[in-house]
């Protein structure tokens, strides 16, 4: 079992909330993601066992939501927006800069296991473009300098 007792308990607790069992899939995936930091096939199977649902439904819902990483990622999961507003304000070069600075390609994790960079679609914060999300926080109105600072701070925190 990958999921620990607490996660399993929380997943089970979602059952009475919804009229349909299938509705528990998203909360369950989220809980599993919070525990593990990513999702995978074994987790889908565990969730489907816990909820008595078909694995196909769990796996297919998880795959729909690209914001769940499907393989282990670094401690800091950097999602940079490359959609239209951010793109107009230089997201592309910012992405290149980030990747170069960290010495990784998109989707890869730095050797120290700290950072993973991926691109995502609109984060809904166009007014403060360019934008990136690191774990649960937004970083806005980005410039190269700001990026340097953010990375440095995070490195310090380790």
């Amino acid at each position: 079992m990958i999921l620990n007792d607490e996660t399993v308990k929380k997943i089970k607790a979602t059952v009475p909330i919804y009229p349909q069992r299938r509705s528990c899939i998203l909360p369950a995936l989220t809980l599993a993601y919070w525990q593990e930091g990513h999702l995978n096939d074994d987790i889908y199977r565990e969730i489907s066992d816990i909820l008595d649902l078909k694995t196909v439904d769990v796996a297919s819902a998880a795959s729909f939501y690209t914001m769940f990483p499907k393989a282990p990622v670094g401690k800091y999961y950097i999602q940079v927006c490359h959609n239209i507003s951010c793109a107009l304000l230089g997201a592309d070069s910012l992405i290149d800069y980030l990747a170069q600075k960290l010495g990784v390609k998109l989707g890869e994790t730095t050797e120290d296991g700290l950072f993973t960079v991926v691109t995502v679609e609109c984060l809904g914060s166009c007014t403060t473009a360019p934008v990136m999300q690191i774990n649960n926080d937004y970083y806005e109105n980005l410039t190269r300098e700001k990026v340097d600072q953010i990375l440095e701070d995070l490195r310090k925190q380790g």
Binding site: D41, R45, T55, D57, S60, S63, T66
Partner: protein
């Protein structure tokens, strides 16, 4: 239902409220293209190709999901509609590879046809198309996603017919859609394959070349093929098939949708089974034993040999010295002519198709009196009950397409499925299954009836059961208390009570029995117990009746209909009732019962029968006593075997006749409903083979009796009036729905509650496990499906199924070799864990040539017991 009037393309049309615009259009021959919509699936309105214009509605609407209303004015082909459809097509084609020249769907592709019709001749985008690369070196991005299914995701248009069908109609879980938008992919769940018993249907329903099957792809262009109407004869469902041929070879079979029978689906066995026809094992010539060896010879030689023997044996022993055993997969025409030959030309009534029985059963007279032999239920009737109680049946593998009707009832009227089985079955995915200790069916069923009576959950007025009868029933069955039966059957008291209440509460329940009951050592008693339960719960009222006893053998109903029993003539008339049938050939037929299988075999031992025909049957591997059948058949002076292949029985025959399959002649089959459906000749007979009806017509001619049949059709035309009561009916005028031949007797409710009793089986106490056999995945029977390469891709090897616990106790794990043995024989085979199997049961799929479970069986022993030894 209220009537509405609307106008489509200027035409006034009357329709029924509740129909969609698309329904109305299709019903009136107005063409609207569709991709995601399919009549057998729930509407999703996802592809938007079916857009139509409705007057006073600002936007175009999808006709598949818009109800037609009174006074609506609809245009299906206006300029606006055409333009919008072109737009939809442009979107669909954005990422579609348009690789029509190398796509196997070409020529029968709905997408190709729609593009052709609406004429989009260029793309306005320059971006590369989304590709799901499987192979960098090739543009064929073909990915096998199951034993038979190949996926090319590039071509998929995201209609989701495939995944919806698997989920909605089959209630299976081996296909899903992953990711989203233009990178959506159709795939089985992680680490699995699509391999459900209905998987081939996704290919047929996919409107593009995204899903193809290994069997058919790139073998022939569809427009070069000819299509012939045929009927599947692997199980008694009788699904309608189209056979696609090119240069006298069958390339595939697909569903020829008949809503009354198959509802537009076929199982993989029906789809890929046809490959047995062209298998290199087919017999190519008649053979005769010379100097101990079977050698090829001409039909003349083999006929002369048979006639010569026939005459001498008849002279010596009288006509009863000749007998015939027939298989259950032959055509009605074969049965009719074999019966006519044996009874009127030879003069013997010793003919039987029931080779799987060990002991003499009653001829079903008692059941006939109760009216529960045969059925007048139709497959359609399976859509209306709200409860199905399945007893002793793996309906999923025995009657795959009928099983889907139960799921349909579940979908449409919340019907429940309850299964009471000795071994777990696949249909448990859709219901609740109770696995009971073997041979406790009678107690179980009776106990349920007792609970209902004691809890007063029955309606005395409607069932017509008075207190005296009920009192007597309770007294007579007082051994079957819930405690006793729970102990005996292994089903908990709570479950028994729950089950009884569920049955009592159902508005209309149907009790379905299958293989395990049909082969049960006390079949009649199990059915009698069910009669009581159905009577008490008032499920025998009106028509159709609530008990459906299904049998194995694809044309077993045809065997009944055409008198393949020593006491029965065509249309199941008793031999002493022959005058009620007006047919010339019956005049001289003896009105004395002939011998049944058990008596034929005994008479062979006693040298009272010296010549036996075995037609389309392989008793050496199927009769439930290998040692006995071998020693008995070798005592025969002359054994004539007619079959498709050199079966184990053929190997000990004196002459072997190559039989043509049903694809090589015309004729008819009778499905479990009693529906006689005709099939056309699809290809010419393979090599020198001949259909059974022809062989027996030829033999009759050599005895100076001219039957005069030139085709299966001629035979059909002779018996058609007999079975239909319509003197004008012939092969050409049979309706699409076939001819329904009513079952024997109406159900006899007034018979009242029947006495039931249990009798311990005769069994061998030395061995601890009960042997139960059944069908392997994607197989039925031994000789044909195992000669289909496609079906063998699903399973081709036998195994010994054990519960994990039993295996572990013997220090066996999955894949280890185990010896299954008893006093009669032994089998060595690999172990497979079976979920939910009882610890005292050994389950063997009895389809594969490597092992034959009948070596472990003995006809004196009612329940086969075996021991297990680790090898």
């Amino acid at each position: 239902m209220s009537e509405i009037k609307l106008t489509i393309n200027g035409r006034e049309i009357v329709a029924t409220k509740g129909m969609t615009i698309l329904d109305v259009a299709l019903e009136n021959g107005i063409d609207i293209p569709t991709f995601c919509w399919h009549p057998k699936l729930k509407t999703v309105g996802a592809c938007r190709i079916c857009l139509v214009e409705i007057e006073k509605w600002p936007k175009l609407q999808v006709s598949c999901a818009t109800d037609a209303t009174d006074g609506m004015v609809v245009f299906t082909n206006s300029d606006r509609v055409v333009k919008a459809r072109q737009g939809v097509i442009e979107f669909i084609l954005l990422n579609h590879p348009l690789d029509c020249p190398t796509c196997d769907k070409g020529g029968e592709c709905p997408l190709q046809n729609v593009v052709y019709k609406y004429g989009i001749d260029r793309a306005r985008t320059i971006e590369p198309r989304q590709r799901f690369i499987v192979n960098e070196d090739s543009t064929f991005d073909d990915l096998p996603i199951g034993p038979e299914i190949i996926r090319n995701q590039n071509r998929c248009i995201h209609c989701f017919r495939c995944t919806r069908m698997v989920e909605e109609v089959f209630e299976e879980d081996d296909l899903g859609s992953y990711n989203r938008g233009h990178i959506t992919e159709i795939l089985p769940p992680p680490g699995r394959e699509i391999r459900n018993l209905y998987s081939g249907n996704v290919v047929e329903y996919c409107p593009v070349g995204a899903l193809t099957n290994r069997d058919f792809r790139y073998k022939v262009r569809v427009w070069l093929t000819e299509q012939k109407k045929t009927i599947c004869n692997f199980c008694p469902d009788g699904c309608n098939l189209t056979a696609w041929t090119f240069r006298d070879k069958i390339y595939r079979t697909t569903s020829r949708r008949n809503d009354r029978v198959d509802d537009g689906f076929i199982c993989d066995i029906g789809r890929y089974g046809y490959q047995f026809v062209h298998h290199p094992d087919r017999l190519t010539s008649p053979m005769i034993r010379r100097g101990g060896e079977l050698v090829e010879c001409t039909w003349d030689e083999v006929y002369d040999a048979i006639i010569c023997k026939l005459k001498s044996i008849k002279e010596k022993l009288g006509p009863e010295g000749v007998a015939s055993l027939v298989g259950e997969d032959c055509s009605n025409e074969d049965y009719y002519v074999i019966g006519k030959f044996l009874r009127s030309v030879v003069g013997s009534n010793s003919i039987d198709h029931r080779l799987h029985r060990k002991k003499k059963l009653s001829y079903g007279e008692d059941l006939e009196k109760l009216g529960i032999v045969g059925t007048n239920l139709t497959i359609d009737d399976l859509e209306s009950p709200d409860l199905f109680v399945i007893v002793g049946s793996d309906l999923h593998s025995e009657n795959p397409i009928s099983a889907l009707r139960l799921l349909k009832a579940k979908r449409n009227n919340d019907a429940r499925l309850v299964l009471i089985n000795p071994v777990p079955s696949r249909l448990s995915r859709s219901g609740t299954e109770y696995i009971h200790k073997c041979n406790t069916e009678v107690q179980l069923i009776t106990c349920l009836a007792r609970i209902i009576v004691r809890e007063k959950l029955y309606n005395a007025d409607e069932t017509g059961l008075d207190d005296r009868q009920i009192e007597k029933f309770l007294n007579d069955t007082d051994d079957f208390t819930i405690e006793n039966v729970s102990d005996a059957s292994g089903i908990s008291k709570d479950d028994l009570t729950l089950l009884a209440r569920q049955i009592a509460e159902a508005k209309r329940a149907v009790f379905i029995t299958g293989r395990h009951v049909s082969l049960h050592y006390r079949r009649d008693m199990v059915l009698t117990a069910l009669f009581n339960l159905a009577l008490i719960t008032n499920n025998l009222r009106g028509d159709p009746k609530g008990i459906l006893a299904l049998r194995i053998g694809s044309n077993n109903r045809g065997c009944y209909l055409f008198g393949m029993r020593p006491d029965r003539l065509p249309i199941n008339r008793r031999v002493d009732e022959k005058d009620s049938l007006s047919s010339d050939w019956l005049t001289g037929v003896s009105d004395r019962k002939g011998a049944d299988t058990i008596d034929i075999l005994r008479q062979i031992e006693e040298s009272k029968v010296e010549l036996t025909f075995a037609v389309g049957t392989d008793p050496v591997t199927s009769y439930p006593d290998y040692n006995y059948i071998c020693s008995t058949l070798t005592k025969l002076d002359f054994l004539v075997v007619a079959d498709l292949y050199l079966t184990e029985t053929a190997k000990i025959a004196d002459v072997v006749l190559p039989l043509s399959s049903c694809m090589e002649t015309s004729g008819s089959f009778c499905n479990w409903e009693g529906r006689v459906q005709i099939f056309e000749q699809v290809v010419n007979p393979i090599s020198l083979s001949r259909p059974a009806w022809q062989i027996f017509t030829d033999l009759a001619a050599r005895l100076e009796v001219e039957f005069g049949y030139k085709s299966g059709e001629d035979v059909f035309n002779e018996f058609a009036p007999m079975i239909s009561g319509d003197t004008k009916l012939n092969f050409r005028t049979v309706p699409e729905s076939g001819i329904c031949v009513p079952s024997a007797t109406p159900v006899n409710r007034s018979a009242g509650l029947q006495p039931v009793s249990v009798r311990a089986p005769e069994l061998d106490q030395k061995h601890e496990y009960v042997l139960i056999t059944g069908n392997g995945d994607h197989h039925i029977g031994r000789n044909r499906t195992t000669r289909s390469e496609s079906l063998n891709r699903f399973q081709s090897e036998p195994y010994v199924g054990l519960s994990e616990r039993t295996a572990n106790e013997l220090a066996l794990s999955d894949g280890d070799l185990v010896k299954v043995e008893n006093d009669f024989g032994k089998i060595v085979c690999v172990v497979k864990y079976i979920d939910g199997l009882r610890d005292d049961v050994v389950w063997i799929p009895d389809n594969f040539p490597e092992i034959s479970a009948n070596v472990l069986k003995n006809r004196e022993i009612e329940i086969d017991m075996v021991s297990l030894v680790k090898v």
